[in-house]
């Protein structure tokens, strides 16, 4: 079906793919795995003939025996979308915002077949139905922003299979999605592939995706093939050290629980933050104790970020209270607030966006010190603590790698010797091996300085490895909270169970006025008899005490 031989791609003088060879047969799924910069996306674009003009390609790409590297633009246009199709990542941007989803799918059909508009529109609705979009007639008339991430990804798959392609390329098809929706989308992708009998080239950095969906796997690193084989062989018995480190980065172990002095450094009680039309945070309570890491997990839109911003504001919340080191933030004077701010620092997700590009590393780290009237003389010491040579103080963020930038962000955050560090997805923008290094750094800083972490992440294995306790957020409330080993081994809330097993949940959920907010998606509720059900409809479940699950029917709760 597709034969790639000795493919090399370079941008200017920089090689991105070096001597790559693989083939995918009809009905087969090949997983192409690697970190960013491994050349996997460049490979996909090379096959589609969509590389930017600045790229140069050598080697051979044959689709059904036809050479693509030398094919003209006209021929490629005819092949794209018909013989080969691609599902891109980041479905938010993948649809033109001003056209209806159905129209964009119909356009893909009409690009290759002379069919009347109406026929194409009807086929688009069928395709949306095929990928599991409910109410496809109505949904075809929606605009892309009216779809959830999972629905957009499905719609992209629908568009890709519109003309029964021989080769289907999926470039990180689940990366931008929440765990519970990922599994669903992978299933849809596999179904679509089975229906069309296409060869599927599945590009991802996520080994679990490959384990779930692929027949064979091809590991790439810096444009070179590391190893290749069936999924079984490579995942069970990796030959290369690099593959082993990838697998190790994926697997989770419980963090050893340690006895700690109990002092509450951050206390949040019934915190509420409503935006017009959205109850972003709707009654959240938890404690963070000295020296511990509290992991906060939840899908996008569950209110994690709003919660952090409410805490960081150090102001009077709409309702409820935030207490930092025994001081209620609602009653702070301006000067006291400044004082408390030293004890509560934050590290953001994307270090390239959170560091001022015009400032040097030294100035960035010195800024909090100077602002709070301290000497900037500690900068070299702080850089050393985060594992950066002192000479880096003179550099600008652009000249650092992603991992180094995050180290700078951490150095800035610990400059004022805070008691609490809020970490908002601190490693999710980094590659797995870099991620591991930053985690090691954070762990050693916590141990040395007795820091407390409020650690937000959507990466569950990561949370399992580093958190003492875990809070699971759903729709502005905590669904479950408790010691990490308990939450991970014996989850009490059906939502936590679904998250952990990455099992499928419906990805559309209507707003709920009263009762349990998880009800519409709850697999447990779906199977309950009528009598116990009524409680879910009328009564919002609460967590009493410092651990438990907000579910009327979990094992620990009286029936």
């Amino acid at each position: 079906m597709i034969d790639v031989t000795d493919l090399s791609v370079s941008f200017g003088a920089t090689p991105v793919v070096r001597g790559l060879s693989f083939s995918v047969a009809r009905g087969e799924v090949l997983g192409l795995i690697g970190e960013s910069g491994s050349g996997k996306s460049a490979t996909a674009l090379a096959v589609m003939g969509l590389l930017p003009r600045t790229a140069s390609t050598t080697g051979s790409i044959r689709l059904n025996g036809e050479e693509l590297t030398t094919a003209g633009e006209k021929r490629l246009t005819a092949l794209r979308g018909r013989a080969m199709a691609i599902v891109f990542q980041d479905p938010l941007q993948a649809f033109t915002p001003v056209h209806r989803v159905g129209a964009q799918i119909a356009e893909a059909i009409r690009a290759h077949r002379r069919v009347p508009r109406k026929v194409a529109a009807r086929r688009a609705v069928e395709l949306l139905d095929l990928v599991g979009i409910r109410d496809p007639h109505q949904r075809a008339r929606s605009y892309p922003h009216e779809f959830s991430g999972g629905m957009r990804q499905r719609a992209l798959i629908a568009m890709a299979i519109a003309n029964d392609p021989d080769l289907l390329i999926a470039d990180e098809p689940t990366t931008a999605l929440d765990v519970t929706v990922q599994a669903h989308v992978l299933d849809v992708l596999k179904t679509a592939q089975r229906e069309t009998g296409a060869a599927l080239l599945l590009i991802t950095h996520d080994l679990s995706v490959v384990a779930r969906a692929a027949d064979r796997v091809h590991v790439l690193r810096r444009g070179l093939t590391v190893e290749t084989g069936t999924v079984e062989e490579v995942l069970r018995a990796p030959r290369e050290a690099y593959t082993k480190s990838l697998i190790a980065a994926m697997e989770a172990d419980d963090r050893p629980a340690a006895a700690r002095p109990v002092r509450t450094v951050l206390e949040v009680r019934d915190l509420v933050r409503h935006h017009p039309g959205v109850k972003a945070v709707d009654g959240v309570s938890f404690d963070l104790r000295s020296g511990e890491t509290l992991g906060l997990v939840g899908e996008s839109g569950s209110g994690k970020t709003t919660l952090l911003m409410e805490i960081m504001a150090l102001a009077r919340p709409q309702r409820g209270s935030v207490t930092v080191l025994g001081r209620d933030t609602a009653t702070l004077s301006r000067r006291e607030r400044r004082r408390v701010r030293r004890d509560l620092q934050i590290v953001f997700q994307d270090p390239s966006a959170s560091l001022d590009p015009r400032m040097t590393v030294g100035a960035i780290v010195a800024e909090p010190l100077v602002t709070h009237g301290r000497s900037a003389g500690r900068v070299p010491e702080l850089l050393a603590q985060v594992g950066l040579p002192p000479a880096y103080a003179a550099r600008h963020p652009v000249h650092l790698s992603g991992g180094q930038r995050q180290r700078v962000a951490i150095a800035r955050a610990i400059a004022l010797d805070p008691a609490v560090l809020v970490l908002d997805e601190p490693v999710s923008a980094l590659d797995p091996t870099i991620r591991a290094e930053i985690i090691v750094l954070l762990e050693s800083l916590r141990a040395e300085r007795g820091l407390s972490y409020l650690f937000v992440a959507h990466d569950l294995p990561l949370i399992r490895r580093i958190a003492d306790r875990v809070a699971v957020m759903y729709r502005g409330r905590i669904a479950e909270i408790g010691p990490a080993h308990q939450v991970f081994t014996a989850p009490g809330h059906p939502y936590t169970k679904a998250l952990l097993r990455a099992s499928t949940l419906r990805d559309d959920d209507p707003k709920i006025a009263a009762g349990c907010r998880f009800r519409p998606r709850c697999p447990l509720y779906a199977e309950l008899p009528a009598a116990p059900r009524s409680r879910c409809v009328t009564e919002e479940p609460e967590i009493s005490g410092d651990s438990g699950a907000a579910c009327h029917h979990h094992p620990g709760e009286a029936p």
């Binding site: 246009t77 018909r82 691609i86 891109f88 980041d90 649809f95 033109t96 056209h99 690009a111 290759h112």
Partner: protein
């Protein structure tokens, strides 16, 4: 915001803007000066009576004059010029002259600018992009007066070469549509070329942004021909920011075409504003301000409507 609420707000804004203009003009301008140079000098009482007649007498209390003016405006009467002509009728004629000029200039400028900008973005860093960039900066560097005169010289050569008198360089024309068109071409171009220059840069940047967007890549991956991708996906989206700029330009141009109107001797609003200030016609100044404010707010409405059309389904 409800449409009624918006209309009320806009009307209030127009009233405030023109009232402020009236007050400023009434305090600083001196209509009495129009009688100063006469020989023999007219008696003070006569001058007072003449000025009071048209509500321009600075010896009358300011508040009384303002109330007279604003109650007239409420009835649709914008007052009189110092020599007794109706401001409303005068401005209505001139607004038509300016409206034709600005509409033509804006349409030509927009079409030219959007086309050049789009092509420049599609051929980013190739000869067309570089050439159009050079021409744009040349046009922006040349003052309107110079451009107008260059066009006039060009038109005269054109007329000589063709042996006709098709292109007219002065006045508005009154001999029917064709005559109006002959008088319109040059001033419209004078307005359109610098506008096209600015628009093309806006459009080029907007296009460069969207040409790199993921959805443009998706459109290509569907197997759409390049032209379709550029027009239906890239251009269509890039028009959203550019049109807002375009519409507001219309409002600003209505009194901003003064130089062009003066060079080509077109009796329009911009030109009238200058003469009104020279002859201390407080009411005319305020009236033109009212027209300009109304034009700007209409542009805001038009921008809004266009946004809804171009960017459907977007919640606001």
């Amino acid at each position: 915001m409800g449409i009624m609420v918006r209309l009320v707000n806009y009307t209030a804004l127009i009233v405030v803007a023109s009232s402020l203009a009236w007050l400023l003009a009434a305090v600083t301008l001196d209509p009495r000066a129009n009688y100063a140079g006469r020989t023999p000098a007219p008696p003070v009482a006569v001058v007072d009576a003449a000025l009071s007649e048209v509500n321009l007498n600075d010896h009358d209390p300011l508040l009384d004059r303002y109330l007279t003016w604003i109650s007239g405006v409420a009835r649709g009467d914008f007052g009189r010029t110092w020599d007794g002509l109706s401001v409303g009728a005068d401005l209505a004629d001139r607004a038509g002259v300016t409206l034709r000029l600005v509409t033509a200039g804006l349409l030509v400028g927009a079409l030219l600018g959007l086309t050049v900008g789009t092509l420049a973005a599609v051929h980013h860093r190739r000869w067309f992009d570089r050439l159009s960039g050079g021409v744009v900066f040349l046009l922006l560097a040349v003052p309107a007066v110079v451009l107008a005169n260059v066009l006039i010289i060009g038109a005269i050569r054109f007329n000589d070469a063709t042996g006709t008198r098709f292109l007219m360089v002065s006045g508005e024309g009154d001999g029917g549509p064709l005559d109006r068109l002959r008088h319109l071409v040059l001033p419209a171009l004078t307005l359109a070329l610098p506008l096209a220059a600015v628009f093309s840069r806006y459009q080029r940047n907007a296009m460069l942004d969207v040409l790199d967007a993921d959805y443009v890549r998706t459109a290509r991956a569907k197997g759409l021909p390049r032209r379709t991708v550029v027009v239906r996906h890239a251009l269509r989206t890039a028009l959203i920011p550019t049109t807002t700029y375009l519409t507001f330009t219309f409002g600003a141009l209505l009194v901003g075409s003064t130089v062009t109107e003066t060079v080509f001797g077109r009796p329009g609003l911009g030109q009238r504003l200058i003469t009104a200030i020279q002859t201390s016609d407080v009411n005319t100044v305020a009236g033109i301000t009212a027209v300009a404010a109304a034009a700007l707010l209409l542009s805001a409405v038009a921008a809004d409507v266009l946004q809804r059309v171009l960017n459907p389904g977007r919640a606001r």
